[in-house]
Symmetry: C2
Subunit: 335 residues, 2 copies
Amino acid sequence: MSPSIKDVAERAGVSVGTVSNVLNHPERVAENTRATVLSAISALGFVRNSSAAQLRAGTSRSIGLIVLDMANPFFHDVARGVEKIADELGYAVVLCNSDDEVTRENRYLQVLEEQRVRGVLITPIEVSSDRLDALRRRGTPAVLVDRHDPRVNCCSVAVDDVVGGELAGAHLVAHGHRKILYFTGPLALRQCADRLTGLRRAVAAAGLDPEETVEVVEGRVMNARSAHDAARPRLAAGAVPTAAFCANDLMALGVLRAAVSTGRRVPEDLAIVGYDDIEFAADAAVPLTSIRQPTQQIGRTAAQLLVEECDNPDTHAHQQVMFKPELVVRDSTGG
Amino acid sequence: MSPSIKDVAERAGVSVGTVSNVLNHPERVAENTRATVLSAISALGFVRNSSAAQLRAGTSRSIGLIVLDMANPFFHDVARGVEKIADELGYAVVLCNSDDEVTRENRYLQVLEEQRVRGVLITPIEVSSDRLDALRRRGTPAVLVDRHDPRVNCCSVAVDDVVGGELAGAHLVAHGHRKILYFTGPLALRQCADRLTGLRRAVAAAGLDPEETVEVVEGRVMNARSAHDAARPRLAAGAVPTAAFCANDLMALGVLRAAVSTGRRVPEDLAIVGYDDIEFAADAAVPLTSIRQPTQQIGRTAAQLLVEECDNPDTHAHQQVMFKPELVVRDSTGG
DNA sequence: TGGAGATCGTGAAACGTTTCATTCACGAGT
DNA sequence: ACTCGTGAATGAAACGTTTCACGATCTCCA
């Protein structure tokens, strides 16, 4: 089908080894031979067959990245960070989207292993994955993203969600709020539970009773619609809460809409704090106060850890990196 | 390093050919041999080396997808549609994000060609790409996504932006608006220009003078911030326009924020129509009327066209598919 | 009993690279 | 005149599969 290195060699009147050298070690071949070969290459439209190259080389220069959900700006930024570092270090990134489905996750792990990637960056759907363990046992390093390994068996990079909850709680309490709604997804998710822990801790630290001050509104899904629906009845009644903390920005937007449509002013009648500081947070009708995570940094660090492990499999020591989130104050809490 | 088919064969006491058959044509091998081989496989933790397989097979079962910007929900949905069809037809999708940089686009085209993908789906950054032409000339089919080929040399799938502009214009005119601001990105972009053409056409169709009715506000970038900044002075003055049409939803959100912060009520004082119908449009403080494009459908159709071309390179005839967008009415125009 | 099928399994070739030991050519140094 | 060294190119082996023509073994029936 497409021309091979052999065709190029023939046309240039050299051996295949020389053509290969032109491709991979240009300095080893004399000026004019190189020119002849290069012109043969472009005349024939030769494109290297990476399967053959990789088969022979035995090792690839690529890493896999499996994210939970490409629609989520968080993971998009993580991917950006990963690509940046990979680029610098000469690795290619194979991007996979598990879409929160275990079967997809497993399929991608299989594909990546068949492709002999050097390592894998992954936000696993479940805390422990047999498929992932098997991969690691066979010698492909993995780094967990936005998760921690309960057994400290591999590197991981995450953000401290308890601190995030505390930042939000302290901010609201400092503004005088004494009745705070916490809109959250399933508390079975570590992230949701940790943020609540932080919120309560901040409330307690201010000498208030968490039981009395914090009301938890737990929903199944974490989108704007569900938060809007959950918030409406609690706001319509002219009720007590003066503040809402939401487990992500989408939910915060939902609460904001509920406030607007029930005639409550933000932040005068209701202060709102979101989480993630997605792009839209700053551009909401009332710009949202939110908790920002160092997303790109997460990706960069994860990639660095992975490459470090690939390059020094023996001396490598696993690390659990934990970043601190940061509070971004905007109009929704009175700026 | 990792065990090969040969190790498996040895352990199972069969030939390599038989192991290969177990992997690829299980029906050709007897029940018990198959069982022996399978247990050898799992005992050794054998994972097929896809480089070798592909090298020998000569052809891969994968297609490339190069999108402009993974952060954009539009492309995310397109990707979803592509994956769905590819899945059904047994193809793997290699996802690439050119991030609007020509060098990245070219690098990915190179990588995909080296991997011998069967075909490429791409939203090219520039109308014509030499690298892409070369790829096609060498026999890798390509389908354009959200773009059209000026020379009708390959398949393409896009949406009619003129119709989108017309829908928005007709809707606003029907609601009595006689002074409409059009917030847009560079009119050099076909999409932006087409939407304006449609808007003017609708205005003219209602017997109004487009020159007088439509005021164009052209910005360099198409995000919420820029639209907000451009809108503020034009709204603060208690000025004439009663409606805004925005070239995308992000800009519409920016205009909405400008309206809220200058005390204009939406839709009473200012009606707003966005474009794309992104997820957030429905969840904005005032849910946005918007123009919806059949995004997943675009991805599905593009994938089908590509696979069709891969499977029947000879009988294949290029098609330029053009979908019609649809108006989604919500509160921001008085629902 | 022999022969025709059918059913399974074998073994070697081939895919397109990279690598590396080897050869070649040619000056320089003694 | 000879070795030595150096820079350049060669050619064959190897990477791990898949494929395919060919045996080997069994079953069935005349």
